[in-house]
Structure formats: structure tokens, C-alpha cells
Symmetry: D2
Subunit: 334 residues, 4 copies
């Protein structure tokens, strides 16, 4: 089976990382082009593959058989639609689009195309630790999940990274992974922001999500947790709990302490998840069956749609019951 030529759009931190993975760590696919408005940046990420400034040109390039979108959020909608129009599989970094309506256009366009072309880049679903957690939950040995505690901590965020951005950029990962872990849908949210100091945004914030299954999901988002990048999850089940282990590879004892390290950002923590996600995406293109773990366009819509309503809950300080548009069936594409 021939190796699939892949084009990456966006050569920022994530785009460059995806280009590196596709060029050096996956089987059955390879990097053929990188597009970025900043040509030298595209060239650096391409590392010998084609570099260009025109994203549409990359999508149209015959050597590009599949597209990975890692450009600024506001461009996702347009580029994913262009890939669908070109009939090319597309893996789009989250968010799928910045509004529910735009996500719905993508969902509809994909249905009309007659093929499942879109994968939303919720890479945690491919993280070995989260997968082990899901396998144990689904194995039922611990009984049903009553509470899922999640903590999402970034070392530091810029001052303009407001409460709303914490929801649409960070909480959105927790929304997707918890929904995937629990195989249920959210029904309501209550938000508790830590009171903001003069001139500062409220950070951290607590969210309590209710679900159809009854499971309560408690989420802490802390964009300036200072000590490092750290993601935790613990499922409290009827007969026991399962949680992510501290992912440090080594333990150091020095200066009166035994320590395990944290990375300063998400990339080292999810290095494997990105690689495995991209490999599964390529394997799915070869087999014609997208990976079952992958987030679909609909999953991308749900995340964006709920995040918008959670921003309201955060601002309005009241419990919000979620509303979702109906999920279109293949026959209902408009």
C-alpha cells in the first residue's frame, strides 16, 4: 500500500510538531507540504518537503492526499470545508470551528460528501493512560462511575487569556475526554470562578457538569497554576476509583525531597497521544474506516456548542441547562 502524502496547514508550535511527527514517526504516510502565511516558518517546519503560503493551494496540490489543519482557530471552518470539497480526509486541531453554526456547516458538508472525511484533533482519546482508564471503566469491574474529578493546570497563560478563553481552549479538552470516557452526554453546568483580583481575570474556576447517566463531572481549570502542566482525572466508581498516574519517568531524590517532574507545557505530556492519533488517522485512511476513538465532526460541534454555553454560565453565575441542535442523520443533510 502506497504511503499517503500529507499536507500540514499552519507552522506554529502545533503545526510544526505535527509536521515533525508526520515526517519522522508514522508508518504509511509522510509529509509532503507545509503551508503558513510566514514562508520561512513553513520552510523550517517542512524540513525539505514543499513549503508554501497558500493554504488553499496546499489543499489543491495533487501530491497532498490528506490535510492536517493546525492554523489559527478562525481559519478552521474555511479550510475544513475546502478539504471536504476536495474530497480529502482532514484532521483538524480543536476547535473544529469557533461557533456552533460553523461546526454545523461542516457536519452537513461532510454528510453531503457521502464519506467520513473529518477528524477533530482531540488527541487525548489516543493517550495510553486515558485509554487504560476507559478500558477499566468499560470493563465494569469497578461498577458505574458516580463522579469524575478532572483538573487541568497550565503553568502560565498570557493576561489576555480570559475566562472565556480558558473555557474554549482548555475546558473544551476536558469536555471531550470526559464525554468520551463516560459515553454519556452533559445536561447542565454550574460554574464557580475564583474571585478575580483588581485588573485580573478570575482563574482558577470550578465547573460541575451533570450528565444523562447521572455521573457528576467536576472540573478545575487553572491557567496559571505555576508549578507546571498537569492534567488529572479520577473516576469514582461504585466499587473503587481509577485515575491517571503521575506521568514522570524517573524519581529524583535531592535537597530533602523525592520528586517526580512535570513538563512546562502540554507537548511532552501528550507526545505519544499526538503520534498515535496521527498514526490511527493514517491507518483509517488506508483501511477506509476512520478510527473509532477519533472525534468526529459532530464531536467537534458538541465541544464548541457546549463551551459557548459554559462561557455564559461562567459570566451569569447560574446553572445552565445545555441545549444542542439535533444531530443530523445522513439523510437529513441540507
Amino acid at each position: 500500500m502506497a504511503s499517503i502524502g500529507i499536507g500540514v496547514i499552519g507552522a506554529g508550535v502545533m503545526g510544526a510538531e505535527h509536521a515533525r511527527i508526520l515526517a519522522t514517526e508514522v508508518s504509511g504516510g509522510h509529509l509532503v507540504a507545509v503551508a503558513d502565511a510566514d514562508l520561512p516558518r513553513a520552510q523550517a517546519a517542512a524540513n525539505g518537503a514543499k513549503a508554501m503560503t497558500n493554504a488553499e493551494g496546499l489543499i489543491a496540490d495533487p501530491a497532498v492526499e490528506a490535510v492536517l489543519v493546525a492554523s489559527p482557530d478562525s481559519t478552521h471552518h474555511r479550510l475544513v470545508l475546502a478539504a471536504i470539497a476536495a474530497g480529502k480526509p482532514v484532521l483538524c486541531e480543536k476547535p473544529l470551528a469557533t461557533s456552533s453554526a460553523e461546526c454545523m456547516e461542516i457536519v452537513q458538508a461532510e454528510i453531503r460528501s457521502g464519506r467520513q472525511l473529518v477528524q477533530t484533533g482531540f488527541m487525548r482519546r489516543f493517550d495510553p493512560a486515558y485509554r487504560e482508564m476507559k478500558a477499566v471503566i468499560e470493563g465494569k469491574a469497578l461498577g458505574g462511575v458516580h463522579i469524575l474529578h478532572c483538573q487541568h493546570r497550565n503553568a502560565a497563560a498570557p493576561p489576555w487569556f480570559t475566562g472565556a478563553m480558558a473555557v474554549t481552549n482548555s475546558l473544551v479538552h476536558e469536555l471531550d475526554i470526559s464525554r468520551w470516557l463516560l459515553s454519556t452526554e452533559y445536561t447542565a453546568v454550574t460554574a464557580f470562578p475564583y474571585p478575580s483580583e483588581e485588573g485580573k481575570t478570575a482563574d482558577p474556576a470550578l465547573f460541575v457538569l451533570e450528565t444523562k447517566a447521572g455521573t457528576l463531572v467536576s472540573v478545575e481549570i487553572f491557567m496559571n497554576a505555576a508549578y507546571g502542566y498537569h492534567v488529572q482525572a479520577e473516576a469514582v466508581c461504585a466499587k473503587g476509583t481509577i485515575g491517571l498516574a503521575h506521568p514522570a519517568l524517573t524519581r529524583i531524590r535531592h535537597q530533602r525531597a523525592e520528586c517526580g517532574s512535570f513538563p512546562s507545557n502540554w507537548i511532552p505530556r501528550f507526545l505519544d497521544a499526538y503520534r498515535i492519533q496521527n498514526q490511527a488517522w493514517i491507518d483509517g485512511i488506508h483501511s477506509g474506516t476512520p478510527p473509532v476513538e477519533g472525534a468526529t465532526a459532530w464531536d467537534g460541534l458538541v465541544a464548541t456548542c457546549l463551551a459557548d454555553q459554559i462561557v455564559e454560565a461562567l459570566t451569569g453565575r447560574q446553572r445552565v441547562e445545555f441545549k444542542l441542535p439535533p444531530k443530523p442523520l445522513p439523510s437529513e443533510a441540507v
Copy 2:
């Protein structure tokens, strides 16, 4: 300095444990009598000291210089008032009394007595791990506490242990220890019970408490957590976090796993806390200065008063802003 003669009222699980501690593990005090309606049970706990059925008789006994109340909750109010009336120091197991009004009678009676005679048995304040946590928080190296996550898990509870009882018996410990750790007062609570199944009480439940200092306190209470007795606390501060370590003394590797154990109930977990609390109480009687860590009658009132309002929040499913009676000054005793 002569050893203080102590009488224990109640010879159930806690009373017998207190009698054992006072007879065999403390300096400067010793067990002289145990009272329990069930005389053989009193005799077993007394282990050679006086045993009797009459609690008031024990309080009046000249050999009893200080009283430890560990009888059923409903008797606390009457017995603590009797000890105050007799001018004898009294350490009362939580709750101090079962209603706010009764607690206030104790607070007032103590003020009128002109001495600080009452200590409420919130023993966690003497647990070395909680004390280390408080010392680090107060040392300020980690900055202010933004969120305090608490989990209180019992292995199993009888079916009649209702949502309200989980609040008044278990959550009450979390209320007191978090307030003590943070040196602040609660302002409001929102409750999220896990939906109850047919014929079962909602368990677990999540509570989000707001405080004057701004710190959010998230508390999980799970009375039937099955895997063991387990208490956790993690303070999320501006520059880092501090939490209780898993208290297992050993690690066993067998059957494909490395494991640290949990006890089946609270006594092994807080063995040291009870001993240290009782020693500090005795030391305070000798010195005339009750231990600063000890919970006062007012602390007992706060716990009972808030627990009652949290039961309402749990039932009514809405955010409740706390109301507390004014704290009487010494000059205001009625």
C-alpha cells in the same frame, strides 16, 4: 504536677478507644471512670477503673477532674452543660450538640462560667499530616489558596445513613478542618447529589463552598466508597499545591500490582490524631491554656449550624447563603 483523673462517658467504639488512650498512652492524665448505660460495656472499657451507668454521677465524682463525652449525639448538650456546671473541663466528641440553639446554650454557659472549659473533638486538627499542610499554607511559600479539594470516603454505611446524616456526621469534619486550614469563614454552598436509585439514598454528593477569603472548597462525601476509608485534601495555591500523602506505611508488590493499603474505618487513620488531641487537652488543663489548635464551643456551633443549612441546600437543590448567629462576646453572655 499531679496526674489528672479523667472520666469517659460512653463506651461504644469511640468511647472505648478514648478510654484506652487515656489509660495507656497519655502523660499527665489517667482514666478513672467510664460511664455507659450498658454496665458490662462500661466495665470492659474501664479495664480496672471505675465503671458506672450514671453519666451525671461520673461528672459529679470527685475523682473525675475532667470529662470526655463520647455518648450518643443527643446526650452531648445535656452532659456538656453538666460538666460546665460542675466547673470541669470537657472534651466532647463532635457534634457539640444536634442543633444550633443547643450549641448556643453551651457557648453562653461557658462564657458565664468565666473559663474556657469546652473543647469540641474535631481531632483532625491534631493529625500530623493536616498540621503539616496548615504550616505550609501559613508559611506562604506557595501563595494564597485558591481552591481546596476534599474527599471523604467511608467504605460502607448502613442504608439508614441518609444524605442528611452524611452531612451531619461526615461532611461536618470537612467543614471544620477546611475552615481551620484556611482560617476563613464560609459564605455559601451549592450541593450536587449523585442521583439516587430506587429506594436508595443519593450517595456520593459534591458540595462547593464559597468563603470570605475567596477560596473555593470542593467536597466529595461518599459513604459507600467500598474500597476503604480514605480522606484526601489538596490545597491549590497560587504557586503550587499541597495535599495529604497516601498514609500507607508499607508498599506490597504482588499479583501484578504495587499496592499501599487503606484502613476499613477512620480509627487506624486517625489513631495519632486522637492521642495527640487528648494529650494536648490534658496539657492545656495543666497549663491553664487550652490548645490553640483545639476546636472551641463556638467552632462546634459553627459546624452544627452550617451542617443544618447544607442539609437544606442538598434537599432544595439550590445555592444557600449561610447565616450564622452573632458570636457572643464574653460581656454578652445571657
Copy 3:
């Protein structure tokens, strides 16, 4: 039962700590006197009890019903014999005496006295973690112990703390606790010192001990481990392992790491062990039956006798088969 009056000889770090424990943390006994060549030091440790410079005077004092020896090692032999001569129970800090011959004099004197008056202060036998380890080993669920790995690390030692001193002061604790954990006797030792640099003593050193039961005991002694005081033990059994857990009470996350602390010396690590040892000693005096966990005079002899031969093994760089004098029976006292 009346409280036992106890005299402490030696007011250095350990003596002062013992005086504090006896004055404030034990039941059934109390501090009545402290003797130290340095009177102000004795007074500071006595904290209101009698202070004196004459150790023999303390032993002779009628208020002193039992003696705790924590004076310099070279004085132990003389003072323990004096306590035996006075018919008073004596708890002697390790080593019981600095030579096998002196230890044997004590063993013989005790036999002649007709009572078990001597307890050697190997306090680790009372440490809750070591006791849990012994209980699991003896419970047999893990099968027989094939290897016992031990590490003894001090943060720092003075330069004159030579290889021989590391054996007689530190390794001696490992010798005793491993022999107690395993209920067997050593047969041989091989020593592997880390090569010394110019002008420095070899440190750390590895020792492999063979036992009658077949269990191999591997011991690392590191007097200048820098990072803190740390004692580890892991029993590798037929069906699994059991080891001491890291004893930190809390976990701190800061500066890119999750950390549990180590103390700078042995006192915080073994605080409970000293208290429980001293309580058990007092309880044994009351009951007339010394604690079964306590190290006897013979155990003190074994430790000293083996340590001397291990020093030879360390110097001579060859495997040494141990020789022990025969253990005198009560009828054989000379």
C-alpha cells in the same frame, strides 16, 4: 498502679529527646532526674525535674526506679552494670557496650541478677512501618524472604566518621532490624566499599550478609548521602515484595515537580518509634514482662560482636564467616 520514676543519663541530642518523651508523652512513667557532666545541659533537659552531674548518684537515687542510658558509648558498660547492681530496669541506647567482652559481662550480670533488667535501645523494632513489614513477612502470604535490601542514608557525617564508625554506629541498626525482621542469624559478610578519594574515607559501602535461613541481606550504608536522612528496606519474597513506604505526610507540587520530603536526621523519622519503645519499656516494668519486641542484652551483644567482625571484613576486603560466643543459659552465668 503508681507512675514509675525514671532517670535519664546523658543530656545530648538523644538524652534530651528521651527526657522530653518521658516527661510529656508516656503513660505510667515520668521523668524524675537527668544526669549529665554538663549541669546546665542536664537542667535544660530536666525541665523542672532533678538535674545532676553524677550518673551513679542518679542510679542510686531512691526516686529513680528505672534508668535510661543515653550517655557516650564508652560509658554504657559501666552504667548498665551499675543499674543491674542496683536492681533497676535499664533501657540503654545502642551500642550496649563497645566490645563483645563488655557486652558479655552485662549478659552474665543480668543472668546472675535473676531478672531481665536490660533492654537495648534498638528502637526501629517499635517503628510502625517495620512492624507492619514483620507482620506481613510472618503472615507468610508472600512466602519466604529470599533477599532483604536495606539502605541507610544520612545526610552528612563529620570527616572523622570513618568506615569503622559507619559500621558500629549505622550498620549496627540494619544488623539488628534485619535479624529481627527475618528471625534468623547471620553466617557471613562480604564488604564492598566505594573507593575512597585522596584524604577521604570510603563512603558509601555495600555489604552482603548471608544467613542461616538462606536469605541474603544486602545493605548500603551512605553517611554523606546529602539529600536527607532516608532508611529503606524491601523484602523480596517468593510471591511478592514488601517494603517501607516513603514516610512523607504531604505531597507538594511546585517548581515543575511533585515532591515528598525527607528529614535531615533520624529523629523525625523515628519519633514514634522512640515514644512507642519507651512506652513499651514502661509497660513491661509494670507488668513484669519486658516487651517481646525489645532487644535484649544478648541482642546488644550480637550487634556489637558482628559489627566488629564486619569492620575487619571492610578493611581486609574478604568474606568473613561470623563467630559468636555461645549464648549463656541462665544456669551458666559465671
Copy 4:
């Protein structure tokens, strides 16, 4: 750059795993053929690629540009020489050959070929945890390594897996990884087998290795450790220690314990190491520069040569000073 066609010889557990990795997880190379005496087994591992019974035929096949040898140990020597003769890069599972003399033939043949064609499959050098450990050691922040403690535990081994086999199959991994971690050479070994019971082989065994750098290496090999597959390493340095963390991805709390799991054999533990090793091997073929971390033919010789002498030490129960043949320089090939 065209993808490299790779042939795998041997379709047992390791060969099949290598075939899977090369077919599905690496970039720049792909599986073209599998050879095994058992054709159906070869076909199963080939999964669509060519399957054959003739290993020499595979080496000669023009589609095979590089060879991975995972056949029985006794065939390694012959097959590696054949690959060298064909001028094809070869990654050979350990041991490189079963005698020092055979290893030397390979070393010499490679020198004569004028190219570095051989990599010995000591995959631990590519394990992220061991690499982090080496980076910290070489970063010098902890100072020089004084002792390296290693434990190698298999869940179970067949009865015919004798003491000598434990050395040549398992200890050999420890020999290589410790030498690589420390960048030094061994000078001597002393062996301490656990006494064998009637009809059973001594297992576990302790080995103390001495090195040119002075570092002592203590190794436990336990082929029937029962509880799982577990590899540990801790470097005790002048200012602190660094060790491998427990590699469990999740923590489960159930049945009175918090547990992290162990795999039942080495494959899950070193899944990443095998993948990264194979990727680095392929990358090295493309670049013309074999990976610096990779074990060379000489490293393979050292491991085999020392293992043989350690078997003698184990049997003879005495300290053995190692002898190695001189390392041939390129100009000295015979």
C-alpha cells in the same frame, strides 16, 4: 528518500513483534519479508508481506535492504555474518552470538567490510526512562554515581531456565544498560546465589560488580518473582539519587488498596523502547550514521564475554576479575 525494505528473521514472540512494529509504526522503512522455519508462523507475522523458510534466501532477496535477526540465539552468529557479507545493515536481537569467539568473528568481519553494519538489540538504551536517567547522570547536577542498584524480575521462568541462563538472558541486559548509563567498564564481579532447594535452581541471585570508575553496581536477578515483570534502577550519586519511576499509567483503588500495575512480561514495559530503537536504526541507515545510543558489535561482544565469566563466578562462588580481549582497531582486522 525512499522507504527501506526490511526483512525479519524469526517469527517467534520477538520476531513477530518486530515485524508488527516495522509494518505499522515506523517511518522511512517497511516490512518486506519474514523468514521462519515454521512457514505458517512466518506468514502470520508477515501479514501480507513475503513469508519464507530460508533465512539466507531472505538476506539475499533484493527487496530486503536491511535485516532484523530475531531467530534462536544459536543462529545469530551465522546470520549476522551473512548480512555483513551481503553488505546489508543488520539489527540483531541479543545476544550477538553465544560465545566471545563468535562475537569477535562478527566484530572482525564488520571491520573488514569497512562499514558499521551491525547493531545489537539492547533496546533498553532507547527506553525514555533510562534515557532520562542517563541525561540526569551526565548533567552532573547530582554528582558522580557511587552505587547503581538494579533489580531485574521476571514473573516466572521454566524450570530449565538455570542460573547460567538467567545470566546470559537476563543479567546481560543489566550488564549492558548499566555500562551504558555509567560510561565505564566492569573490572570484577562477586556472585551471591540464593541457596537452591532440592531439585531447584538457585534463584534469585545477587551480583556486585566493580567498575573502572569506582561505581559499584548491585544487581538482583529473580526469574520467578511471581508478582510481575519489573525492572528497577537507582543511581546513588554524591548529591542525590535518580531512579526509574513505577511505569504504571493509572492508579486503581479497590479492595482496601491503591495499586499501580505491572505487566506479566517485558513486552508491554519496553514497547516504546523497541519502536524507538527500530526507528533510530532505520534513521541511521538513511543518514549513514548509526544511532550513537545503539549497541555496537563490540558492545555485543562485551556482554557475551562478561556473562560467560559471571557464570563462572556464580558456579565457583568466588570474586572474578574480568578479562576482555583487546578491542580491535579498524586497521587490525584479521
